[in-house]
Subunit: 173 residues, 2 copies
């Protein structure tokens, strides 16, 4: 649609206004509908450069529009997606030992801060414990099968889980 202010283009404001007018691209509207209807968002991805792959970051950047997911002062505990849960389930290249405190990559919780707190918590979404499969590429076929079984097992009782306390203490204690 038309810009609200084409002289001083402001991406955040323009996407918020387009959202309100129902003028966002149809792929975004579809994704937002899925989010709206979901009680739990599971993000499954391979960890890329201490974060999510760019294509998934693009989903966050484009879908979680102001007015839909947050609207100051409705952020963090009063974010517009409150009452929803999220879970980051991902695979890594490195082993568990490489992602521990004092190890070469540092505590894996450090890299969860921007994703879990900066994105999900900011939108009011409470976060369940992440589900991490370390280095599936380098373990035996048997261990890989074990990982799948453990994930299937966890899914069965997911609704009984309590969200983490998504504050600096959880990440940097």
């Amino acid at each position: 649609g038309c810009l609200i202010n084409s002289e001083e283009f402001n991406y955040g404001m323009e996407t918020r206004e387009a959202y309100k007018r129902g003028d966002l691209s149809s792929d975004l509207v579809e994704e937002q509908k899925k989010v709206q209807e979901a009680d739990l968002l599971i993000f499954q991805f391979p960890l890329y450069w201490f974060s999510m792959p760019a294509i998934m970051k693009g989903w966050m950047d484009r879908v979680l529009v102001q007015g839909f997911a947050h609207e100051f002062p409705n952020c963090y505990d009063s974010g517009l997606l409150k009452n929803k849960l999220a879970l980051f389930s991902f695979t890594t290249g490195g082993s568990k030992e490489m992602y521990e405190k004092g190890a070469i990559n540092g505590d894996i919780r450090h890299l969860l801060w921007p994703m879990q707190h900066g994105i999900m918590h900011f939108c009011g979404v409470r976060v369940l414990e992440p589900h991490i499969c370390f280095a599936p590429e380098y373990v035996s076929e048997e261990k890989r099968k074990g990982m799948l079984i453990a994930w299937a097992q966890r899914l069965k009782t997911l609704w009984n889980e309590e969200p983490i306390n998504c504050s600096p203490e959880w990440y940097f204690k």
Copy 2:
């Protein structure tokens, strides 16, 4: 080019082999040439969701190929891009006060960990102090001009700066 192993597709291995054969897409080859020739990489971006915008993350994901930027055990201090410097220069939506320890967004250094340590340091690149312009959208025209002057000033003496100590202490002290 052709895949090395089309039965068990391994993205990291395939990109490494394509790099060695000179078979990467021409846009990647061009970007890698720029990196190779640079002594200092300055990344200028608006902070998006506690990270870089997806399109810039895509640059990282695609350009910093194994064999070019790192090759185990050549990572971190012995990464293949050692002897280069990087500087993250970015704008934020929130004010400085919102990115301090104990504030709503937490210490801004926390979100620099995946980008500065997880990407740059991993490739052997040493990192200069980030250059952060807080909330340019919400300050006066005069303050915005001041930000540009301060940046121009810093650029003049950039080569005299010492890299940060890119270890957990810098980020989570």
